[in-house]
Symmetry: C2
Subunit: 463 residues, 2 copies
């Protein structure tokens, strides 16, 4: 936890955005796996963590703008639960530790909310079913009303505030990214032909847990890197294949790191792998070079797309005018996702509040295949933290679909593409802070060039 003053200051800054009304914050509950008391690890709501810092299930908070009073609600533990869980601070003690004077039991939260007219109550979009049930109870809404009546001013105020990372947050994220780099380094120094993907993922997870935190999102550890959100770890990995790892550390305070690396399952890359890896890395480095205040991230993305399209043109996969091709989304056959996203307490920061507000400042988002998956499309400001992760993927299902429908056929040499249909995917990913003058790559360095990656890979084969 940060100091009491940090949370008081954050709440005061938020309070200034409102003249009237009541802000309601729902802390998260434990999440059950296969019966109520068998739970996943607890993850507190990030906005609750940001303004109240308390990492315990079953809490609620209210900021009453007019009275200036802040409240925390929760039920104290009984002696029975102390036997099972050890002694615990009271709700009053917890509230006081983050500078909140008023506290009460859960039923008092419901009484308090019901004491206001519903149109004065601001709340954020529910992303867990428990949030919907709680808001239905507190406000007397049905499920559809709960979803419809979220507060846009609350979303915008939280989004703008959390988007600018403070010095102490940057230090915490830098640590998250360093541990993330260690996780990737551990995989590079461990994976060998004949292992399963699960064995490599397990080693990566061990590093995160041993550090006292957890993973910031489900680990992608796969020889099928072309499947962007692939969580299957059942394959045995073989010489000649590429291994794509996308994994990040979450600090005990909840801040995320997020990196991707791609390395050969054997000791060295093949020539074809090297050629395509170099294109992806060129796009990656060019994107990072562009980062500074005032630049629209959409332009960073499109520049990465152009470099990828150009590189693939040199290899014969694509053809035609690069600017036209990218304007038509032809690069998205190989690069159907975005160049990066905001990162902070969430690995996709504030995705629960809506990309439209947080990543696009309310501006319209493209509906074009590829570009519609870009999560960040606004002007960068000092204090933003974001990922850079352009990639090149050969997705057989997508190749077939585009070929059958003739999509962007003036820009794609399908014969050549089909020769590489089982190539897989390549992505590097780093986390970057926007500084007043430019940018800074966060965390300790991880091998990224072909030479450095192959150097790390040697260590996996030492004994």
């Amino acid at each position: 936890m940060f100091s009491k003053e940090t949370y008081i200051n954050r709440r005061n800054q938020l309070r200034k955005q409102f003249n009237t009304g009541v802000l309601v914050f729902l802390g998260n509950e434990e999440s059950s796996m296969n019966y109520e008391d068998n739970t996943y690890r607890f993850r507190q709501d990030s906005t609750f963590l940001y303004y109240f810092g308390l990492n315990r299930a079953g809490l609620y908070a209210i900021m009453d703008i007019e009275s200036g009073n802040d409240y925390i609600f929760g039920d104290d533990f009984t002696i029975d639960s102390i036997v099972w869980m050890g002694s615990q601070p009271t709700i009053k003690e917890m509230a006081s530790s983050v500078g909140v004077e008023h506290s009460g039991a859960v039923n008092e939260f419901y009484q308090k909310v019901k004491s206001y007219p519903t149109d004065k109550v601001h709340y954020l979009p529910p992303y867990r079913p428990e949030h919907i049930l709680k808001l239905m109870d507190a406000l007397g809404f049905n499920k559809e009303e709960v979803k419809k009546k979220v507060s846009i001013p609350f979303i915008v105020a939280v989004g703008e505030q959390r988007n600018i990372k403070s010095e102490e947050e940057i230090k915490e994220i830098d640590y998250a990214v360093s541990v993330t780099a260690w996780m990737h380094q551990a995989a590079m120094r461990f994976a060998r032909p004949g292992m399963t993907e699960a064995q490599v993922a397990a080693k990566v997870y061990e590093v995160a847990l041993a550090e006292g935190g957890d993973i910031s999102f489900p680990i992608i550890a796969t020889i099928n890197g072309q499947t962007l959100h692939n969580h299957y770890h059942g394959n045995t990995i073989k010489e000649g294949q590429l291994f794509l790892l996308d994994a990040g550390f979450e600090t005990p305070m909840g801040y995320a790191g997020d990196m991707s690396s791609t390395f050969p399952v054997g000791k060295t890359f093949t020539n074809a792998q090297k050629e395509i890896y170099e294109i992806a890395l060129r796009a990656h480095n060019a994107a990072i070079d562009m980062l500074k205040p005032g630049v629209n991230f959409r332009d960073v993305h499109l520049q990465a797309a152009r470099i990828i399209f150009d590189g693939l043109k040199d290899m014969g996969f694509t053809k035609g005018d690069t600017d036209d091709a990218v304007a038509n989304g032809a690069h998205a056959l190989f690069f159907p996702c975005g160049t990066g996203h905001l990162m902070g307490l969430d690995v996709h920061d504030m995705e629960n509040l809506g990309e439209q507000y947080v990543g696009y400042a309310g501006m319209p988002k493209s509906k074009q295949f590829g570009l519609k998956s870009l999560r960040l499309g606004r002007e960068l400001k000092p204090g933003y933290v974001l990922t850079i992760e352009p990639g090149i993927y050969f997705i057989p299902e997508l190749i077939d679909l585009w070929e059958q429908t003739g999509t962007n056929k003036e820009y794609i040499n399908f014969d050549k593409v089909n020769q590489y249909r089982n190539f897989g995917g390549i992505r590097n990913e780093e986390d970057v802070l926007i500084t007043p003058d430019g940018h800074k790559i966060l965390g300790e360095p991880l091998a990224k060039s072909i030479e450095d990656v192959e150097e790390e890979r040697k260590k996996a084969f030492l004994d």
Copy 2:
């Protein structure tokens, strides 16, 4: 997955328990951590797994008893999601793979349920908030009605059927227990003074993940074994302390193992630790020896309690007549929990259906402190799988409470107890099958005697 016939046979056996009505099965959804798409690992509902075997989020099933028709509902993936997740079988193909002829989309599930009078619809107790919302939508009930109108006949039929494990289930559980033993062995051979609890827990987790499964419940890895459900892993472990590990493997099919072990952080136990360890182990072995069909597990528990009370009497912690003391619950100062619980697809098998029905066959459960935490109190039958895990704990908060209130003061020497108030806790735990003639301990053996544990510990200090 088991064969198609296994699932067909299980459903047919269930169907025989009903003459009329409709059985509704809710598969689980993905569970969100900090925003909708950042999810915990998926855990399917165990009853859904048992009858339908499909391990994918967003499925629903119906068994219409009168027509004899079974249905599976879910939404097929779109081409967009195939790009992100790889190609996937259709709902129709999945249904067919487990012998279900009828399938449809999610909205058809709601239409189907609404086509029956609500009093013909049987459903099991909801344990996730998403279940409550779905049942509200499908049945037009409010939250309280959903909780009140669960089907006792459905609970009892599922409980009785799932309680008797088949040959193929026993094989799977035996494997789960073997991996569980490897997890414990890895910890014993790894932990050293100066490490954190988290480092040991991470090593244990790695073994589970590398095997391609996961953990069956949150790992307890602590020098504060007296706190029964302690998930804090932040302490640095020191020479002279006891380390208590309670952890289990979950196979990819969902079956659980669950073992506990207690070992010295240094190479050897102290004399005091040895004395108390021997008492706990004596109770453990005596409890296992009693296991056979026809024995009521409550008697096994009370026998373990008597051995613990007797052993502690020899050491001067307790006094008076053992039978009277145990009848009055005096042992519960040191042993406030149960000797074991049923285990299968859930580590506490079917805890979501209610212990009252599954573990007590509808018989009344004791309200006495200690005995009320016993999860199993019925006659054992061949095919039951259960844990044996008596323990001895010195819980400072509980000692103070009992001393202040004079609870069972005729049986407790509080002066002596207070000398050990920082001793910690000791527990061994194994998983046992009830056979027609007696019992069988499942899985590969794990060091349990003081000599064997100290032998394992030497390996942690080899280099």
